[in-house]
Symmetry: C2
Subunit: 355 residues, 2 copies
């Protein structure tokens, strides 16, 4: 069971809500009254390790290092809520932390908004909240304000979480598609497709020869190491919904650049490759939750690889693409068999509700 990772080695503190009395979430837990307060004080405050519980009732006041900050938000509706390598809680923290990291910001504070379905197991809520606390610790952020609503059975799906994040910009240059230049290299920090395939396998009850665990991980530290090493990062993008293909296309369109990716250099693990082949999926379109691409000047590529390889989330980092000119808004792929094809974004979603 990889699920136990998120509780710090399998030791799960037992749920502080008396489960014989409240085994399930009730509509009244969302009413703003004493039942709501019980949820905040017995679930969220201890799980998030928050020392100012009052802040979770209402807004929180922050004193930041400087006034140049990044704000981002993400809603999480993954099904199932527990999967190999994480759960909706780890995802809700890392997803927003990573969006901040992609702005060159040090992730600092998160808000957490819950929409709970009436009847959710209280124990599940507790496990998810614990995961959020552990993921926040690992990413160096604090969950400082929150909100909970409960909707009737059949009007939700166990638990949806929104997190918004505030980070402090530590990168002097702006990190944005418009700074991409011909000659830039495209670096990826690791193998792709694990998150999407892990969730799909769990949801559909598929058993592959080798178990696939989500790549869900925080990217703030490795990005800030690049920033503080003086790397002139032109652009960063994490590879979530729509995978590498969607991210590369978004950037190519925004930059008006032509990006060429080399399929042979894109790391894909054997289990993911086999599972994708079996299901007729393309790993280039599968969601990740701990993967990003960096556009940097060619001269910095060795230094960036060195930095990435020193981090657990960057062990398999590789140069896998180049920018050829400043016109086009196009992504082409040099395939495994040597042909060159246009790599398009899918209009919909290969795998819905993957995050």
């Amino acid at each position: 069971m990889t699920e136990k990772n998120v509780y710090g080695g399998g030791i799960t503190p037992s749920c502080p809500v008396p489960l014989t009395e409240y085994p399930h979430v009730l509509l009244a837990h969302g009413g703003g009254g004493t039942m709501s307060r019980m949820l905040i004080e017995n679930i969220f405050v201890p799980a998030f390790g928050n020392d100012s519980p009052a802040a979770l009732h209402d807004g929180a006041v922050l004193d930041l290092e400087n006034n140049n900050i990044a704000l981002t938000t993400d809603s999480f509706v993954v099904r199932p809520i527990f999967f190999p390598g994480g759960d909706i809680g780890t995802l809700a923290v890392n997803g927003t932390v990573n969006d901040l990291a992609m702005c060159g910001a040090r992730p600092r504070f998160l808000s957490a908004g819950f929409v709970l379905e009436e009847g959710l197991l209280m124990e599940s809520l507790w496990r998810v909240a614990l995961s959020m606390g552990a993921a926040a610790d690992a990413a160096g952020v604090r969950i400082i304000t929150g909100d909970t609503k409960v909707v009737e059975r059949g009007k939700g799906d166990q638990i949806y979480i929104n997190t918004a994040g505030v980070g402090v910009i530590e990168c002097a240059q702006s990190i944005t598609p418009s700074r991409i230049r011909p000659g830039d290299v495209v670096i990826i920090n690791g193998d792709i497709g694990r998150h999407g395939m892990a969730v799909l396998a769990k949801r559909e009850g598929l058993h592959f020869e080798s178990a696939i665990t989500s790549d869900c991980a925080p990217l703030g530290d490795v990005v800030l190491d690049m920033v503080h090493a003086g790397i002139d990062i032109h652009c960063l993008r994490d590879l979530t919904r729509g995978g590498l293909a969607a991210a590369a296309n978004e950037i190519a369109a925004a930059a008006g650049a032509h990006i060429i990716l080399d399929e042979r250099s894109i790391p894909v693990s054997n289990p993911v490759r086999a599972a994708c082949e079996m299901l007729g999926l393309d790993p280039l379109h599968v969601a990740n939750e701990g993967r990003f691409i960096a556009f940097i000047p060619k001269k910095d590529s060795d230094r960036v690889l060195e930095i990435l390889h020193a981090h657990p989330v960057g062990i398999n980092a590789a140069v896998m693409g180049t920018v050829t000119d400043n016109q086009g808004g196009l992504v082409t792929l040099r395939t495994l068999v040597g042909t060159q094809v246009i790599l398009e974004t899918q209009s919909g979603e290969q795998l819905p509700r993957i995050c």
Copy 2:
């Protein structure tokens, strides 16, 4: 029809998404691909009046006046999504704006996270997005980053919105229950119970003699006028879920104070009073979305009333309570008939899904 108010006098720009092709939201609109981008570019960017659409794809970078900021979040699951006096969009903006105002902060930036149910009318999404744009304009905030997920039919209820807000603290003293002192007066900015009763009436198809419209409104300006007039505001709280009773009890508990409220001085409109009597509800427990209580030194009460009366949201402001000592954590109510009773928070919710 009061609903038209939120579109600036009834002129609704037509939905930029081709409705013959996409009359409903599809799962693919949440996939992170070109269909998702269509939603951002054709619905959210024009409706929010955002001049940097790229920011809605990802995180946004802010340059604030100082580094003392407030962060807050709220999820909105109101049913029905359109009601007299507003809709889920106006609520999602004003709810978070008001939480910032209660921290003594000038509301500046919002994020918006959507969980859409497959099959939602595209036209409804457009109307809600327009309402958010109009409410943001009215409150002086900008919606600068967002996220959209789509869940299958029966896994949501048309539309849930989370907003997180960033504000800049403009109040030198902290605004918090611990600053409440014996002798403080409690001031309310207007009549209570309208939002809850307006939503309930619409949801249940009830027709009262006089139509009740929601009090949903932004409170930032009036609070900042108090701040900049030099009022020593001890504590503020908006009266949302659980109404005045819940807010007063939360503060009494946090401050360890004894708050006495005078029912005769609490403004309640005749239609709300009549509707509550008919339904066996108590307006003290009904949700509001444009009402707050302020705890201030008695010497400042005339000045505060003057400031409040100058604002549309404060026309009916009144002193309606006092703090008697610093022990107790208790709220008592001097009733209309002159008796004194303990006013408790309800454990659940009189009216679920009111915000």
